[in-house]
Amino acid sequence: MTRITRPLILLAPLLAFLALAYVLPFAGVVGWSVTLPEPGVQNYAAAVTDPLILSVFWRTLRICVIVTVVSVVMGYILSLLWVRGTPLVRMLTELCILIPFWISVLTRAFGWLALLSNRGLINGWLEASGLIDDPLRLVRNEFGVIVGMVHFMIPFAVFPLASAMRNVDERVLMAARGMGASRTRSFWQVFVPMTAAGLMGAALLVFVFAIGFFITPAILGGGRSVMVAELIYLRIFQSPDWGLAAAISVILMVAISALLTLLLKQLSPKGAR
């Protein structure tokens, strides 16, 4: 008897709390998706046939792929210095990663508005220097969304990349150089392949995060390039269609679960080999 109840005293509070406040309500959302406005699967049918919704799915996918590639490449460069630089360089790189990381997503989106908007700093400089007459449209479009999202995601790309780079055995690199490989060649043919698992992990992590993301796109997209998460928000609060919003959420949840399963396989020791 005690053998079962004792672990339960410790485990039950959290499990009961999440069951009540998360798992059951999610079941309720699934319920909405098949009962609102009337019972049936018409919401799912609409989600996969309505050209408007499909275009949002495609835009989300396109933006997320671009954001993933750019963040991982930029994160790779930053990780390189964070892991292999001199102590001073390492400290400065760390500041460039950690200060933005700890600052709220709203402040960061606001910073990009201050830089990119029509009356922002970049357009101000360009006009003052006479390079342009009319302000460039840098924000409230897809470009602004991508810039803001890349900025948000870089730290999340850096953490798995840096940990992969720390595990690279330095002697292998020295062996490559000792046997006559140039710096460039030992980087591309030895170092990069040895961090491939980290690259895959970082890419999947960023992609999974990006796909359900909605604050940065909502602020920097300005309603013009709606992504899937913002679509759910709009279908709840602006042109209500709760059933459809619930159906899209369920589809999103299933897609993310599939990707996460892939991520876990990638991160497990067996997957890395």
């Binding site: 004792r6 485990l11 709390f17 600052i103 709220s104 606001f110 910073g111 101000g124 909502a218 959420s249």
Partner: protein, 269 residues
Amino acid sequence: MIRLRPGLIATLLAVLVGIFMLMPLLAVVPVSFTPKRFLSIPTDELSLRHYRTLFEDREWAEGIWLSLRIGLLSAGFATALGTLFSLGIWMFRPRFAGLLMGIALLPMVAPPVVSALTLYFFLITLTKLNGVVAYDTMLGVALAHSVMIVPFAVVLVSVSLAQVDRRMDLAARAMGASLGTRVFKVILPNIKFGVIAAFFLTFVLSWEEIAVTIFITSVEAVTLPRLMWQGLRDNIDPAIAAISVVLIVIVATVVIGRAAVTALRQRGT
């Protein structure tokens, strides 16, 4: 020993990425000193009016106070639940530990917007039953934040438990210590920094939580991020620049301070 340092091209590219990372944070500073009422760069004169707004406008003070209370409540609750759960997994290694851990981490890995809709459903259901822990109330938001941050408490406490020597607990048990004694006298003193770190991280996460908060509040429980969100969506209010500068200065001080302490300590040894 020869260390293989990054070359010139890598360093130059990294400098560009570093500038990219810091640029939006620096851009906020000049905007916060604009004398105008809309987003603009000050040209002739600098003004502190937007900083004054933060002190004089009750909205901002109330938002900050509300976010503080919600942060402390939900971080305390989440850290307590997360610590108990991690202890349970570590001490008893139950069957299906992986599955249980997966359930505990669910709100962390699910897309934020799906969690937001789920918690919206949860709170409007609660609203039908009572008016205290409900949609658009302080306790409702604190409860929803607890759901979102509890996985992070579980992760931090579990990481810290992984470094504790299990034989210590086994010795205590063999000598007849009760569950309470084992937890409070033997294990907790060894993971106190992990628990404190969990409280700190979950507080920060609640303090800046916005995705869920948008779904579960409207006009009553306006937290600081909710207030900033409104200012960003409608007409961009430069007071947001002022509060952003304050937040950036706090974060930068803590991060740089920590880096400096680490650097000094390394030099000392």
